[in-house]
């Protein structure tokens, strides 16, 4: 990726101090020669808008925000112009100064509208920061300090501001009582700051010839190498993916993590101010020698499987198939704003249209018109894709049909980033903005909220979310990373039950789901970890660590980012910008495929072939999840979980379907569900018995008393338990009920036998012919040992 710059022959007579875009093709620039120029990029015309009075030396310019919450402003377009005489001016598009307000003593160094255009902030040489209403009435003086404030920026929600104070940066909330955050940012005076609302990151450039990236807590994420000259300007691209930085004869394009994509050395003098157009396609810089430099991004690359796509010009792309070196050129009518390549489709948006290409056919794209121009994010799933613009979120099918448009009330959609929204074939998940603990879930096909509109709520702020991509909708899972960098997994469709949010990892920096199987990979502390079957946490929690594949991640250096996980290849971006790849064994994906299609024999054969414990563990969990006991038994035996094998054998011997289902639930630790299942089937004794087995005495007694049966059974077992541990009965309820109840073991045995016989009878009555009564086989460890030592026996299972 690099910048293609151009300098036009028109220029100001003096240095240019500020620039501002009105549309994607029209720019206003102000200069010390008191002139305001309008640059039209469509016809390359430069016109003088207005000649200011000789005593107005402009310093900063900022256009009134154009769209507010997706609605176009009806207000006439105005901009604020600050000047060295301590005034700011509100001027119209024609350059007529509507209002001049005496604001500061000394020069007004910066003036910025907030995102919804309700207030304006100005910073002056006198060290004051003042907030003004839209019409230019003073609301308050927010801060005061002894040194000039060179630059100021609004926080993402317009509720905080960031400003410079000598070498320091200060974040100050607008609420008067709340505390400001202050830290030393540079070794020289900080000259420019910018704060992006999409990624919530802060940029600063200073006289120490460095630029730095910070998060909104003031932690340094990146510090650049020393430049030859002070950094005079920094600017985030609107989508927060890249930023530009200007210095003397220098223009640099950098990734949001700080590393530099490209460096240009144009003949411009110092670049005093940089501005991106609203759609992020154009960049303009105010040059010290009177020029205005224009730049746009080219050579951006997208890769998916064997296809590599390069943005060659603003309106054209080159597609290269690396397997056969076939090259296609795609031409567009308007400049390309966003593109995404994944799941066999390329989606490209321009200012007016959306093009959908299939990788099989580059000649005939599907084209449809876009309502709102600037798409800020494209997400793809296998069956459809999602576009985000300032007005909303839209799910389209690859045939170009609008499938749905999920709506989150009161959310600014244009600041959504890929971490805060996720798409799968049937679900859209969006993290809340005002409350970051909340995740809104929608059906992708209807756009209606899932679970009666009750969003998923986590106990901490959620940083990143990702939906798994395969399998049926009912099994859809969402992985989330919270503020503590813990990784959690939970079910999306939870049928009125309280969601179980299970922790599956800690210190997770970044994660990604596989595109063709529900395998999750992440970088955990210094380990690269793959969850072959994350769902195992809901089936058999103890098994989860055994289904993990991990390897050392030190080769990815500090804070890498997983870009995607396609097939068996994980693409990771290191902090220095280089792409590294890591391959994952193809077996788990094959295992998923087999088990997904219920080909358990194939799955077993695959595991035997691969001879991998992790794979066996995954298979065990998968089989248990599908209640496929035979396969589960073999798999558990293979990983040496003797107790589990025994339990599975026990489940297999259970007389009725209900009890075995209940015990499978119990196997996964879902006691509540198991009990409900048994009670619904009228198997009261069995329900009581599971609580007895779990030493869940209170509940066992409660059930027995409630259903007026087997109270003596519970008491007898309790007694035995107390005896075994030589304890005294202290539980009041047991004391109460044990009075007047005679414990007769023989009677109890008989009763239990009767219950079991009854259950068998019932099961027999329902299924014809009745299953033969199987003598309970005691588990023999020697038989298991034989399985390990003599692989030929495998087939007999």
């Amino acid at each position: 990726m690099r910048l293609k710059t151009s300098l036009q022959k028109d220029k100001h007579k003096e240095l240019v101090c500020c620039v501002g875009w009105t549309t994607a093709d029209e720019l206003y620039s102000c200069s010390d020669d008191h002139q305001i120029f309008k640059w039209n990029l469509l016809n390359n015309e430069t016109t003088l808008v207005v000649q200011l009075q000789d005593d107005i030396y402009p310093i900063d310019l900022h256009w009134f925000p154009k769209t507010v919450g997706g609605k176009k402003q009806s207000l006439a377009e105005i901009f604020v112009l600050t000047s060295s005489d301590g005034k700011f001016h509100l001027a119209s598009k024609t350059g007529r100064i509507e209002k001049s307000v005496e604001a500061h003593r000394g020069a007004v160094l910066a003036g910025r509208w907030n995102y919804d255009g309700t207030s304006l902030i100005t910073a002056g040489e006198d060290g004051q920061i003042k907030i003004w209403s839209k019409s230019g009435m003073l609301r308050s003086t927010l801060a005061q300090q002894g040194s000039p404030v060179y630059s100021v920026a609004w926080g993402p929600d317009s509720d905080r501001i960031l400003y410079t104070s000598g070498k320091q940066l200060i974040i100050k909330p607008l609420q008067p009582s709340s505390k400001a955050l202050q830290w030393k940012a540079h070794d020289g005076i900080v000259l420019k700051v910018d704060w992006n609302s999409v990624n919530d990151l802060i940029l600063s450039g200073g006289e120490d010839c460095k630029y730095k990236v910070w998060d909104s807590y003031g932690r340094q994420l990146y510090s650049s190498a020393l430049h030859d000259y002070p950094i005079t300007s920094v600017a985030w691209a609107p989508d927060g993916e890249v930023f530009a930085m200007g210095s003397f004869n220098t223009l640099r394009l950098c990734d949001k993590t700080g590393w530099s994509y490209a460096l240009e050395k144009p003949n411009t003098g110092s670049i005093f101010s940089l501005a991106w157009s609203a759609d992020g396609t154009q960049l303009a810089g105010a040059c010290g020698n009177g020029h205005v430099i224009f730049a746009h991004v080219v050579e951006q690359r997208w890769a998916w499987k064997s296809f590599e796509i390069t943005l060659t010009k603003r309106r054209s792309m080159q597609v290269r198939n690396v397997t056969n070196d076939a090259v296609d050129v795609l031409e567009f009518r308007d400049p390309i704003i966003k593109a995404s390549l994944s799941h066999s489709h390329l989606v490209v948006t321009t200012s007016l249209q959306c093009y959908v290409y299939s990788v099989k056919n580059w000649n005939t794209p599907l084209i449809f018109d876009l309502k709102e121009g600037t798409v800020s994010l494209i997400l793809q799933a296998e069956r459809h894709f999602l576009l985000v613009d300032g007005a909303g979120i839209y799910v389209f099918s690859y045939e170009g049909r609008l499938v749905s448009s999920p709506k989150v009330p009161g959310m600014r959609t244009d600041i959504l980033n890929a971490q805060a929204i996720s798409l799968s074939n049937d679900t859209v998940a969006i993290r809340g903005k005002t409350d970051e603990k909340v995740i809104f879930l929608f059906d992708a096909l209807t756009g209606k909220p899932l679970a009666d509109g009750k969003p998923l709520t986590h106990k901490l702020e959620v940083m990143e979310i990702a939906l798994d991509q395969c399998g049926v909708a009912a099994d859809r899972k969402i992985a989330l990373i919270d503020k503590n960098r813990d990784l959690y997994l939970t079910s999306v469709r939870r049928f009125s039950r309280e969601p179980i949010i299970s922790k599956i990892g800690t210190m997770v920096h970044t994660m990604a789901w596989n595109d063709s199987a529900n395998i999750l990979c992440a970088i955990q502390d210094s380990q690269f970890t793959v969850w072959y079957y994350p769902n195992a946490v809901f089936v058999d929690q103890e098994l989860l660590p055994k289904t993990l594949f991990s390897k050392d991640a030190s080769e990815f250096s500090r804070t890498p980012q997983i870009l995607n996980y396609v097939g068996t290849l994980v693409t990771i971006r290191r902090a220095d910008g280089s792409l590294v790849y890591s391959s994952v064994s193809p077996y788990p994906a094959m295992l998923h495929e087999h088990t997904g299609a219920s080909r358990w024999n194939d799955a077993l054969r695959l595991c035997r072939f691969a001879k991998d414990q992790t794979l066996w563990a995954s298979l065990a969990a998968m089989a248990m999840a599908s209640k496929e006991l035979t396969a589960a038994e073999v798999a558990y035996a293979a990983i040496g979980e003797v107790d589990k094998v025994q339990y599975i054998n026990y489940i297999k011997e259970l007389p009725s379907k209900e009890s075995s289902l209940a015990h499978i639930l119990l196997f996964s630790g879902h006691v509540q569900e198991a009990e409900t299942m048994l009670l619904q089937a009228g198997l009261i004794y069995q329900a009581i018995q599971i609580h007895i087995n779990l030493y869940n005495w209170d509940r066992a007694l409660e059930l027995a008393v409630k259903h007026k049966t087997h109270v003596d059974t519970v008491l007898a077992h309790r007694q035995k338990y107390l005896q075994d541990f030589s304890k005294k009965e202290t539980n009041k309820r047991f004391l109460q009920y044990s009075e007047g109840v005679e414990v007769d073991w023989e009677k109890i045995q008989a009763k239990v036998e009767m219950e079991l016989a009854k259950e068998r009878e019932r099961a027999a009555g329902r299924t014809l012919p009745p299953p033969p009564f199987v003598e309970p086989v005691l588990f023999q460890p020697s038989a298991l040992w034989a399985l390990f030592t003599r692989p030929t026996l495998w087939g007999q299972l």
Binding site: D228, W259, Y581, S583
Partner: protein
Amino acid sequence: MDRDPLAEAGLHFDELNKLRVLDPEVRQKTTELREECKDFVDKIVQFQKIVGGLIEHVDQLAKEAETEKMKAIGARNLLKSVAKQREAQQQQLQALIAEKKMQLERYRIEYEALSKVEAEQNEFIDQFILQK
């Protein structure tokens, strides 16, 4: 000698016997003087002309010397600034080279990672074939 009464009266005859008021001798001398004066004036004029030309030439030379001098100074300054310019250019090129080097390093790491993946995949294939 006897006095010529005419001469007494201030009258003289010249060779052409024309009556003259002035003594022919004097007259001749006067004429001679006039001629000489005329000569002298002519010479002076000529001298002035020559000197003027000379001055003009010298002036011109001075002017030329002056411009040459300015040129030389300019050239010298230019030379100095070229050195500076080169330095700046060099600095710019160095920055660009550093940038390219960084990009190269990134590509190298990417290539290494890919080679590793290739090796892993080959190993996997070998293993797969062996096991079959």
